[in-house]
Symmetry: C2
């Protein structure tokens, strides 16, 4: 089985999956996305879920990344500890069969902290492998769980997760703020900026969130959009935690464009230049680099 | 109608209600509690829901407090602004009929903040009225939305809400931490203390919450109970916000005993003496004081 002659790459998350058919040059020639995340696959159902991907995109070897390798996924792929390079990921692939390989996640333990990632490591090290980012960089990867990663000598040296996206979703779906946090017809840049400013300079999120409701009840809201304000508030606090008092020359912001745009705007507000990268492109670069290393 | 000759006091919240039959001396002689909070009462259903209380406890005048006076309740009772005394609450009662009165909530606007309470004001000013607390005090009222209130000259001078209880519940019910936050068979004091210490000294809640999961996955959790740790973490952060750098000689902690106990332990850890008061007793003291002021 020659992996670099063409394969299907799958970014298989908790609530959805994206599969890409890559030709021998690593170019994506077909793709498929659906909501069959790992939590929707019944016990013992992964072989069928994988067969379905091959039916759609062709009978190719599969390189799988993301939560598919977690203890809730198909076969667990133990974390590779930091510092982690692309070679380390390739060397620790878990092979359910000759025709499938699962990319391991990365873990960090140090400074009294512990952290894990699954999926982002392919993007981070993919961008290093194809020289989209230099071997030393600070990367911010927004999503449900934003990752701040320090890349040094081409390896993920350390990282920290801030669960900004999940907190915002919890508040929007289930909290006393739910009715105020429904998406805006038109995002309110002023409200977003006010929120970022507060989050960057205050450490009172559990109080300031309630104030969003109180201000509205009392007619004291300075902006029309509590959703934009709250998004800015949480992203500002995220930056405060991720930057930890440092002011780097540049932060690479990698992920879905609608999220990298928000983080880049917040970083600009903190006086820091952001370089936005499309996470999907970085993912495919990482998959290609790993595939080239498979015997 | 002579209110002080006996009445039914109702603490009517979002998800449940507690009704107390008080005799002419203000002593509670009967009570009823159920889960018929304001959100479970259908449109136009409050007269029937109130009739049901009278059927259970007797055909008495009703003094109603809590979310029943909000814009989602029966009849809206506009907020009384700080500084607010028991006389102010009594003067601003809203009377749907001669036989019912709704206690208003209290609002605060100042220092760029805005805040509201409904229900806690009866307890706070009740404890002042019957001299359980002195006219100048710092009160912490834990619950879904913890209130830090500064009482000055017997009035609520200012207050701030920290949504600790709601955040913990959101995480326990709906987040990636849900399975880790189910109640302990036996609370873990060491884990709670470690959490309080972190929350008191760090301002990284959105990151530290994710670390709860990561530590468990990596076998790095120093304690057996992530639920106790997370509870301590959020309460520690709550204290840091509520105390805002001050170290008062004493904090009055008022509310449900199982919550005041946790906050008192966390305050002790911060080197601050806590005085625990049962919220139900304070509520009845406040109702009695308001009833005495009704013409």
């Amino acid at each position: 089985m020659r992996w670099a002659d063409g394969l299907i790459a799958v970014d298989w998350g908790t609530s959805n999956r994206r599969a890409y058919l890559l030709d021998a040059s690593g170019s994506c020639v077909d793709e498929h996305e659906d909501s069959q995340g790992i939590l929707s696959v019944p016990a013992g159902g992964f072989p069928a879920a994988i067969a379905e991907i091959r039916q759609r995109l062709g009978d190719q070897p599969l390189l799988l990344a993301g939560m598919i390798g977690s203890n809730r996924g198909w076969v667990e792929a133990p974390y590779v500890p930091c510092p982690a390079a692309i070679d380390d990921l390739a060397a620790a692939l878990v092979r359910p069969s000759d025709r499938e390989a699962i990319v391991p996640g990365v873990s960090y333990v140090g400074e009294g902290r512990a952290d894990v990632m699954r999926g982002e490591e392919v993007q981070l090290l993919g961008a290093v492998a194809d020289e989209t980012i230099p071997p030393d960089a600070l990367v911010c990867h927004p999503g449900t769980h934003n990752k701040w990663a320090r890349v040094a000598r081409g390896r993920i040296a350390e990282f920290r997760t801030v669960m900004t996206g999940e907190l915002f979703n919890l508040l929007k779906e289930h909290s006393i703020l739910a009715d105020l946090l429904q998406p805006d017809v038109e995002p309110d840049d002023g409200a977003f900026r006010t929120g970022v400013d507060h989050g960057l300079t205050h450490d009172d999120i559990p109080a300031e969130l309630f104030a969003v409701r109180a201000r509205t009840l009392l007619g004291q809201a300075p902006h029309s959009s509590p959703a934009s304000f709250t998004s800015g508030l949480l992203i500002g606090a995220d930056l405060r935690i991720g930057l930890a008092g440092t002011v780097p020359a540049e932060v690479v912001v990698m992920g879905r464009p609608e999220l990298t745009e928000l983080y880049a705007a917040a970083l600009a507000q903190a006086g820091i230049q952001a370089r936005e990268l499309d996470g999907e492109r970085c993912f495919l670069a990482g998959i290609k680099a790993i595939a080239e290393r498979i015997e």
